[in-house]
């Protein structure tokens, strides 16, 4: 008997706690739904707010997606980056072939092919149109070349440059040159564009917060009487704050959905011209749409911005309403 009674009472406490938790969750659900109801019941003004938020979010989201696509493209160009190793003249063809074989086994290199001095001269003759001038030369002026393909893992241009530097330092190598220097430049440009997207996103995120602050401020004004009476009968600040926070989050969430819709529609419009352009370059590149994680990020950001905006509005205006 003695042992069972504290156990019983602790069981009672925990079951009471469970009931309280249940009531608390039910209340939150009710408040969330009634806030949703309030948003839906004023469709015109809500839709205006939501669309403005949607457009503000669509711009950075669209830019981000474009940048992603460009980076996919540049990724495929990175693969084309190669390093040409110009051999010293004194090195024989056999030694060059030997070196190429050794390089193939090195880490960071996926392939190495040799262009002998003879082959180089032949190619140059065919392609340059200087064949007659060249035939007057007594000696072949062209060096042997090993074309090295870096590993896919070596997509970073800085690493590729380091590899080129290492190759230059090798015995018998005159110098090694990283082709497609523009890949480096292109990376620099996309980095700037990336920054730019972040700046735009921050500015427009700020705009979204301001829109929500204003919307919630109006809502607080409209519900002045309700807030006053709630305070009169003992509502805590958090109780009064809650419906407005939910409203803000709903606005943000719907704004996120609208922005997803806008971005998806815009991509659809761009699909055909992009395919045509890609066709001109013999590429089967297609614009990739928003994946699920970006979509959730967009919706999440929308809701968070909404929450932040309503928090600011509520913080500024709720204290000014006191029952009289």
């Amino acid at each position: 008997m003695r042992e069972s009674s504290p156990r019983k009472s602790s069981a009672r406490v925990s079951s009471r706690r469970q009931i309280n938790l249940k009531i608390w969750l039910t209340r939150h659900l009710q408040v969330a739904l009634s806030s949703l109801g309030r948003v839906v019941r004023a469709p015109f003004s809500s839709l205006m707010t939501i669309c403005v938020i949607g457009i503000a979010l669509a711009l950075p989201a669209g830019l981000h997606l474009m940048l992603d696509n460009v980076q996919v493209l540049s990724g495929s160009w990175d693969g084309a980056a190669s390093i040409s190793i110009y051999m010293e003249e004194r090195v024989s063809d056999e030694q060059t072939a030997e070196l190429a074989k050794r390089l193939q086994l090195e880490s960071g290199i996926s392939g190495a092919s040799v262009v002998t001095r003879q082959q180089a001269l032949r190619e140059f003759r065919e392609l340059s149109g200087f064949s007659e001038v060249l035939s007057t030369l007594e000696e072949n002026p062209l060096p042997a070349v090993i074309v090295v393909k870096p590993d896919d893992a070596l997509s970073d241009p800085q690493q590729a440059q380091a590899l080129a530097d290492k190759l230059t330092a090798m015995e018998g190598v005159d110098f090694a040159q990283l082709d497609l220097q523009w890949v480096t430049r292109f990376h620099a440009i996309t980095e700037i564009a990336d920054r730019f997207v972040w700046v735009v996103a921050s500015l427009l995120g700020l705009a979204v917060i301001l829109i929500i602050v204003n919307t919630i401020r109006l809502e607080i004004q409209n519900r002045h009487a309700e807030i006053e009476i709630s305070k009169l009968i003992g509502a805590t600040d958090s109780f009064i704050r809650r419906p407005f926070l939910y409203s803000g989050a709903w606005y943000g969430l719907f704004g996120g959905l609208i922005s997803w819709l806008l971005v998806t529609l815009s991509l659809r419009l761009l699909d055909a011209p992009v395919a045509r352009l890609a066709g001109l370059y013999q590429s089967d590149f297609i614009l990739s749409g928003m994946d699920f994680s970006t979509f959730s990020l967009l919706i999440g950001c929308g809701s968070l911005l909404g929450l932040a905006g309503s928090w600011i509005a509520v913080g500024r205006h709720l204290h000014s309403i006191e029952p009289s």
Partner: protein, 226 residues
């Protein structure tokens, strides 16, 4: 239950709402507060409900020292003080039921408990059949009874009423007073500000008379029926 110890309220600008009031109201008392308009009746009620803070003295309600109460504690104090206003202060966009349910929802009661208590309170004031109605469709007396139901639904130990019969004829006023007496019988402490002196005299309860913010008379009533 309510104790004023040299309590003053001076408004910014130097006007005194009440000055140096000392009095004690016991648990279960029903007390009237009278005096000309501007005498400080409302100020006293507002100080008890912490709608305003006193500027001097000590004010205690139910053992709680209001002078030292933190802002975050005010809601919990107000839950123990029911307030009734002359203009009812009902929300016009909510039904009678929802208006009365507000204090319980604010206090975080469960759905079943809320409906049970709201119906009991509405039954008490005789408006159970109008629970789905909106306040605007009710008469003045009915609206006041909704306001009373809201004030008592959470069973606060103290109920304050500011001119509850101000807009009502004498018959309706009498009904409201009968209602108050029935709350008082179950132990609720009531403080009612009114200038309907006829009504006050008829009921024969303790009456406080205020003039220019000062307590000038405290008639410990001889209970007519005791």
């Amino acid at each position: 239950m309510i104790s004023f110890d040299n309590v003053s309220k001076r408004y910014p600008g130097g006007h005194d709402g009440i000055s140096n009031i000392t009095l004690e109201i016991d648990p279960g008392e029903m007390v009237f507060l009278t005096g000309h308009s501007g005498a400080g009746k409302s100020t006293m009620l507002r100080l008890i409900a912490l709608l305003e803070r006193s500027t001097g003295g000590q004010l205690r309600v139910g053992g709680r020292n209001l002078t030292r109460l933190k802002r975050s504690q005010i809601p919990f104090h107000r839950r123990e003080v029911g307030m009734i206003f002359q203009d009812h202060r009902l929300l016009s966009d909510r039904t009678v039921f929802d208006n009365v349910a507000m204090p319980l929802i604010v206090a975080g009661l469960g759905h079943n408990e809320v409906s049970r208590r709201v119906r009991a309170a509405l039954d008490k004031v005789g408006l159970l059949k109008r629970e789905r109605a909106y306040p605007i469709t009710l008469s003045g007396g009915e609206q006041q009874r909704v306001g009373i139901a809201r004030a008592v639904v959470s069973r606060p130990p103290v109920v304050l009423a500011d001119e509850p019969t101000g807009n009502l004829d004498s018959e309706l006023s009498q009904e409201i007073m009968t209602l108050f007496e029935s709350f008082n019988q179950v132990g609720v402490t009531l403080l009612i500000a009114t200038h309907d002196l006829g009504l006050v005299r008829r009921l024969g309860r303790r009456t406080l008379l205020l003039s220019n913010g000062k307590l000038i008379q405290d008639n410990r009533a001889v209970y007519a029926d005791a």
